[in-house]
């Protein structure tokens, strides 16, 4: 290294010194681990050559949104990159979590989210929150609470949280069965790479089809009908998932009240949907688990459930033939209108 620098110094006077200093600086940067460079806000000067080099460099500097999918717009001052722990997941991410008004549950739900570089966390608190709980939430600067004491439907509450959340990506996390921050980060990263809907990859956890529950069978058929066989039973019915701002705009936050309908709409409207990571299902979502509802409640839930399913399928089959991309080109249905008598022959006298 010394010999090389001496050679350079001999080559040219003052300009040689400047270039020597610049060369040493570059060398030092290259030798430093990538992580350190990222943490310090410095990025490697060399990005792979290609037509998109300038765009990628701008993305790395945080001056443009990640991915071409969002139109490569410049970020507003409000949504500057949120860097924590040396890993930028997305320029401006928020999270929505629905939790019952119990301090222990709330804390366990928030713990993994607080480790993520999120701009804000919208905690939708269901049930009566005690003043102590409200004070505890108030003490957390990034957490914004949304108190819905009378709301029984968790999906309606989640939709309200989605409407309140502000960010280029919104992560929807489970309140009662929190996932690790590492796994949740994968959803933000997937959206950061240009995906609009990042789903929980649950299909491998479900085991053989015979053990799948009704909701997973219906989600799988919906995906299949909309030509997304690869998604298996992965859908917006299963937490966690993340939505880009583009997806939230296209669907509308209220669509999340019926997650299967939102899934159908996302696929029909050409949003980029993919499975991001596999977060273990809570036991209550496992095939064969009991819902714990009483007879009356169960019947009411079934009724509401049927309506929601119908809505989801209306969304899936909207604006097109019922058969979607599965036309019937082989049946001669016209023959059914013709008379039969002349064609019947034979038989036992």
């Amino acid at each position: 290294m010394v010999a090389e620098s001496e050679k350079r110094l001999k080559k040219g006077g003052a300009s040689g010194l400047r270039s020597e200093l610049a060369w040493r600086k570059r060398k030092k940067r290259a030798a430093a681990p990538m992580k350190k460079g990222l943490a310090a806000g410095r990025f490697p000067k060399r990005t792979p050559a290609g037509p998109n080099r300038a765009r990628r460099q701008a993305e790395l500097r945080g001056q443009r949104r990640l991915s071409a999918g969002l139109g490569g717009k410049r970020l507003s001052a409000r949504s500057k990159p949120n860097v924590r722990g040396g890993r930028r997941l997305h320029p401006a991410a928020a999270a929505v979590v629905c939790v019952p008004a119990q301090p222990a549950l709330l804390l366990s739900a928030l713990r993994p989210l607080l480790k993520l570089p999120l701009r804000e966390i919208v905690a939708v608190v269901l049930g009566e929150a005690s003043p102590a709980l409200q004070a505890a939430i108030g003490a957390m600067p990034k957490v914004r609470a949304l108190y819905l004491p009378d709301e029984k439907d968790e999906w309606r509450a989640r939709a309200a949280g989605a409407a309140a959340a502000d960010g280029d990506v919104v992560l929807f996390a489970g309140g009662s069965h929190p996932a690790s921050s590492k796994r949740l980060a994968a959803f933000l990263k997937t959206c950061g790479r240009g995906c609009d809907v990042a789903l929980n990859r649950i299909t491998p956890q479900l085991g053989i089809f015979a053990r799948w529950s009704r909701e997973f069978r219906l989600a799988a058929f919906l995906n299949r009908a909309l030509n997304r066989r690869d998604l298996g039973a992965d859908s917006l019915q299963t937490l966690p998932f993340a939505l880009s701002r583009r997806a939230l705009r296209a669907l509308g936050p209220e669509m999340l009240e019926n997650p299967l309908k939102a899934q159908a709409a996302a696929l029909r409207r050409g949003l980029r949907v993919r499975a991001a990571a596999s977060v273990p299902l809570p036991n209550t979502a496992q095939p064969g688990a009991q819902t714990g509802l009483q007879n009356g409640q169960a019947a009411q839930a079934r009724q509401g459930d049927e309506e929601k399913l119908a809505e989801a399928w209306r969304e899936a089959l909207r604006d097109g033939p019922f058969r979607l991309t599965f036309p019937d080109r082989i049946r001669m249905r016209s023959v059914l209108a013709e008379g039969m008598e002349a064609t019947v022959q034979g038989g036992i006298p």
């Binding site: 009704r214 001669m332 249905r333």
Partner: protein
């Protein structure tokens, strides 16, 4: 069933068949005679209606020789249209649907007739397909999902798409013969109309289906049947809307 009971002796007197067995056929000479022989043994008063469509191997003559009524169409009608045509011509109180390429013993078929005689309007084959794996075939998924959507999870993957199955004349009148050409739509109609849809005997037709030489046959069939189920969902949504 009780309201039908007084009419039964009259029908016996007028010589009408009790069971109509409907068999759509297209070049199934190899198995047809045996399949028809079993069909005739289902009930003492049985008519067998063979719907030959696009047959070139003499299956039509064979069916006639066996004593079946034959409906002939020179061109292939496509899946299940033959069943609807056969149902139009049927005179029996119970309509049993089988295929010409599967030889199913008469005692098994009698189970379907007995289920309808016992009060069922629709007796389905209690066969859900290969479900002990993942991912499953699109047809298996579609059948389960349709039953789930119609609130009949108890039926598993049983469907009017799968033969053999039997329906009562009452069911035929309620559903209408034309819908039988798209079995999942007929299935949705039967459940939507509040007919008594039950599971009959289990016949593992997956193992009985003959191998097809035509390239891509099963893939085409899968897409057709998924489309049929979507049509059924659309039909159900229309009826639900009112």
């Amino acid at each position: 069933m009780s309201e039908n009971a007084p009419a039964e002796p009259e029908r016996q007197q007028d010589g009408r068949p009790h069971v109509s067995v409907i068999v759509p056929v297209r070049n199934e000479r190899r198995t047809l005679a045996r399949a028809l022989a079993e069909a005739f043994r289902v009930h003492p008063r049985t008519e067998v209606i063979v719907v030959c469509n696009g047959t070139t191997d003499g299956s039509n003559d064979m069916a006639r020789r066996c004593g079946a009524k034959v409906i002939e169409r020179p061109a292939p009608l496509g899946h299940d249209v033959g069943r609807a045509l056969g149902a139009k011509a049927a005179a029996g109180e119970v309509l049993l649907f089988i295929d010409g390429d599967m030889v199913i013993p008469a005692y098994v078929l009698q189970g379907f007739v007995a289920a309808v005689d016992g009060g069922a309007d629709v007796a389905l084959n209690d066969y859900s397909g290969p479900v002990r794996k993942t991912p499953v075939h699109g047809v298996v998924l579609a059948k389960h999902a349709l039953n789930d959507l119609l609130g009949r999870t108890d039926l598993g993957g049983a469907s009017l798409t799968t033969v053999p199955h039997a329906i009562s004349r009452r069911a035929l009148e309620k559903i209408g013969t034309d819908l039988l050409a798209v079995p999942p739509v007929a299935h949705a109609a039967a459940i939507h109309c509040g007919l008594n849809v039950r599971l009959g005997p289990a016949v593992p037709v997956g193992r009985l289906n003959r191998a097809r030489r035509e390239k891509g046959h099963w893939r085409k069939l899968e897409r057709l049947i998924i489309g049929d189920h979507l049509e059924a969902v659309g039909w159900w949504l229309n009826r639900k809307n009112g």
